[in-house]
């Protein structure tokens, strides 16, 4: 069968690792010694009782859904703007799509430089404009770090939503808008009654898939703040990394991965129930 190679690769690189991690979660295992001891549900029980686990979970939710919320507002707004016909629209699109092509690590590093508390350009800029008097520690202030992280994360990924929504917007027949104008609809009515119903599907899909994605984001957080200040931005993926590679506690890391997996499963169930993606290829 022609799906053989793909299936073999997926088993080796995705399914086997997931099973490995789940198996680990039922063992007491350290990266420093090769022996594993079966402990059943013990790792899970101690996770459920651990305050730091739930804090990390909460931060993941805030980061994930805060990011997607902001990205939706910005992404859809920009898409509506770029769907208009005006001179220079091609240039504007090219400029706005640019951030999406910048590697995530680069985004994290550029913002780390720009948001630096002592020599970051954002502070210089805001002070030149007279908006603030003293430099702000955007990334090392515990009240601001998470918000800064959500904003810089959205700078790149809002564009993804713009691209999706723009493609959808361009497929809406112009007649719909003409008919709406004939019937005296203003711009707001047109958005509510013509545009929104057409992009609703994309928005829901994005909200769910991207939400899960952002919930699980590791790279941008790790490079920008390393989970700090303190633990303010330590989400679940950061927690897994620290548990496995800094504390060498593989069993617990496996259990955290297991809970992530359950979360993913829930996401998948909603996704399959709400969008029946299998129908699309079931023909």
């Amino acid at each position: 069968m022609t799906i053989g190679p793909a299936l073999a690769l997926m088993i080796l690189a995705a399914f086997l690792p997931v099973i490995w991690a789940l198996n680990l979660s039922f063992h007491e295992a350290s990266a420093l010694s090769p022996s594993w001891t079966w402990v059943g549900m013990e790792n899970y029980v101690s996770l459920m009782e651990s305050q730091s686990y739930w804090n990390a979970f909460k931060r993941s939710l805030i980061f994930g859904f805060g990011s997607v919320g902001l990205q939706l507002v910005v992404g859809v707004g920009v898409a509506l703007m770029l769907s208009r016909e005006f001179r220079g629209v091609i240039l504007a699109r090219a400029m706005i799509f640019l951030p999406y092509l910048i590697p995530t690590v680069v985004v994290a590093l550029v913002f780390r430089l720009m948001l630096n508390g002592s020599y970051g350009i954002l502070n210089v800029f805001l002070m030149d404009l007279g908006l603030i008097n003293t430099p702000v520690n955007w990334l090392s202030n515990s009240d601001l770090a998470m918000i800064s992280l959500i904003v810089l994360n959205s700078w790149k990924f809002a564009i993804f939503i713009t691209i999706m929504v723009l493609a959808k917007l361009q497929s809406i027949p112009q007649q719909y808008y003409e008919a709406a104008t004939m019937n005296g609809a203003g711009p707001l009515r047109k958005f509510r009654d013509v545009t929104f119903p057409q992009i609703k599907g994309v928005i829901l899909l994005v909200l769910l898939l991207r939400g899960i994605w952002m919930f699980n984001k590791f790279d941008i957080i790790w490079v920008t703040t390393g989970g700090g200040p303190g633990d303010e931005t330590a989400t679940l993926p950061v927690y897994i990394y620290e548990t496995a590679f800094l504390n060498f506690n593989l069993g617990t890391a496996g259990a955290i991965a297991g809970t992530l997996f359950v979360f993913l499963g829930f996401g998948a169930i909603i996704y399959f129930a709400g969008f029946s993606p299998a129908e699309e290829v079931g023909r």
Binding site: T2, L24, A92, I96, V106, I240, A244
Partner: protein, 299 residues
Amino acid sequence: MVYTDRIANQIASLTDSDKLPFRQKQKLRKYGLYVLVTVTCLLFMFPVYWMIVASIQPYDAIIQNPTWVPLDVLSQVTIGSYVQIFVNRAFDRWYFNSIVVAIIAIIVTVAASTLAGYGLTRVEFRGRKTFARLILFSYMFPPILLAFPQYQIWQQIGWLNTYHGIAIAHIALSLPFGMWMMWKFFQTVPIAYEEAAWMNGASRFHSFKDVAIPMAKPGMVAVAIFTFAVSWNDFTMATILLPNQSMQTLPPAVQTFTEQNTVYWGQIMAASVLMSIPPFLLVYKLQESILEGFRTGGL
């Protein structure tokens, strides 16, 4: 009284755009749109501008008194940072590593997903829906969830610090999307063309190679671009699966340009600029076929 009323009315009509003549209203809207577009473009462009600026400024200028004014920036341009990343750091080696890994990942992903997509569309088999769901479910797996157990498995089979080890890890991220994409893409290719080829005596292999593949090209290009983006961007897996510095790809390597309390921002930004160039070249060259591919692919 009447007079002041009239003035008030005139002022109101100036500020209330609803009462403006049609043409002026259109004009006002147009300018409003341009202001909005310009502000948005500036917001999205500024970090890119700053990355380039920081890469061509002397170290002290970035740390001590950074300036965003273009004229001041131009007065102290230097390419020192670009020279240093090649002389003092193994930048060329990491660049090479990144390219090799991306190429392996692209070739394998495109080949495997084209084959799988073709088979899934053209050959009936039981459990096709389940398979579709399995693909989409694995599309949700985050890199950290895979990389942490991969580290231990790769350690056992000696795949840490190898090109194929990291490439296969990247394939786990790109293959679900690739299969899905090609599956949907082959559905848009009418089977009639292939049937015509069979009528003329072509074998299944020939009809696949000479009829189906050429028509599926835009889809394959989209899968290749997606895989490139995944591989070129990946930080999480490379950090975990490539602990040896000389084998590292760019994303984990770039952020190590620090010594004790000194962060070499100029060098980091120079490396960042050079690292951002390939995605641009690729996307702007292939813009049309990407859009075509992604429209069919849905996701």
